[in-house]
Subunit: 225 residues, 2 copies
Amino acid sequence: MASTPEGITEFLDDTLLFGGLEAEVRERLASIALPRSFSRGELIFSEGDPAEGFHLVRKGRVKVFQLSAEGKEQILHVLWPGEPFGEVAVFAGMNYPAYSEAMERTETLFFRRDAFLNLIGSDPIIASNMLAVLSLRLRQFARMIENLSLKEVPARLAAYLLSVKPEDRSKVHLSISKSQLANLLGTVPETLSRVLSRFQSQGMIRVKGREIEILDQEALEEICG
Amino acid sequence: MASTPEGITEFLDDTLLFGGLEAEVRERLASIALPRSFSRGELIFSEGDPAEGFHLVRKGRVKVFQLSAEGKEQILHVLWPGEPFGEVAVFAGMNYPAYSEAMERTETLFFRRDAFLNLIGSDPIIASNMLAVLSLRLRQFARMIENLSLKEVPARLAAYLLSVKPEDRSKVHLSISKSQLANLLGTVPETLSRVLSRFQSQGMIRVKGREIEILDQEALEEICG
DNA sequence: CGCATGATTGACAGCAGTCAAGATGTGTGG
DNA sequence: CCACACATCTTGACTGCTGTCAATCATGCG
């Protein structure tokens, strides 16, 4: 079909949300998917914008965040290829509850609410997958709330480092800048910088730019409680 | 049917989750619902418990919360009759991600995961309603994260007061104790007490036990940003 | 009436945010 | 290849919110 760009159905099958669907359904999904692209730093939607659908990241990275009255941002999550965002607005409320911005050159597929809701009726697996995705997000959010209210910055940092640490290696590569990491952890760059250097002076980690080497995993686990 | 206690189907129709279903489906839901009851202060499930299903509050009130290493609790939400909890564990992961406790004498209906997942396939409305419920929760959590990371305690309190304020009246009745409210707002009773008395001395509210009268709504709105 | 729970108040300390300046790193254009 | 502009990161000094500890006071229930 001329209206479905190359490789969309294959891409969809690789995602958690649309994996394992029957070919015919995937074909229909592809036919309602609208390709969009954004340049680095471009705002995709703002809090309060009327929501006509949701996005699926195809290439690049997107951050979803909230802004305080003073302009400080709190990152809710960073989305990678294969992950959806803005989907909450499809099922509840008419407006996006947060901001989203492309962190680099990004391509997405946009699904219009009405077209998508139609499709969801045709294959219960879609709804089921979406339930799983939303449930995972709720878990992430719950953990975030726990970290913000019950843990101090060092504990949040330790938890983050351990969560992104590969199983077998001790080297961690930060996929976002330290400023952005600070916003994700609910703090400011200055504080993050101080904690990082304290960890380093205590011999728990070694920091070189965006590369962080875990030297004492047990100490980090101790700190994060 | 002998196995479905009185009034269950009627009760289900009043809930957001199971309202608007066909009578036959509601009948089947009622037939797999297991009535349970808990006394005040009783733990319903703990973080990490294997999750075999979820609850729907029938009478009473339940709090869902997390505990820090030092024993401080952060309330994620307080559930009233008609609201489900523990449902996230049905769709993602095998364990409950938090604690839940009856705040007073409470009765619930328990739905076993496998039986419920079977039913969900038979009526897409159930999945659709569940998506709406999860989406609403995600919005609540996102707002909670915003409040915790971007607002100070006075702003969180102001936001809470305004959120529970009835449209037409200025009297607010706290449905939970001030200690519990402190935990919900991510602070401690001492701090909450201080902020309440400061608001009062500034003439913004009047506090009498659990009754709080909003005297200057605009000032509160100003504070919550 | 007495105990248990919750609420308040005071004194104190410390984590972390703000402001400001300097250092480091990165990318671009000459 | 270098130099400059810009963003990011780091460091220092300082302030203040808020948590902790402790004691007192109110409330409600048996």
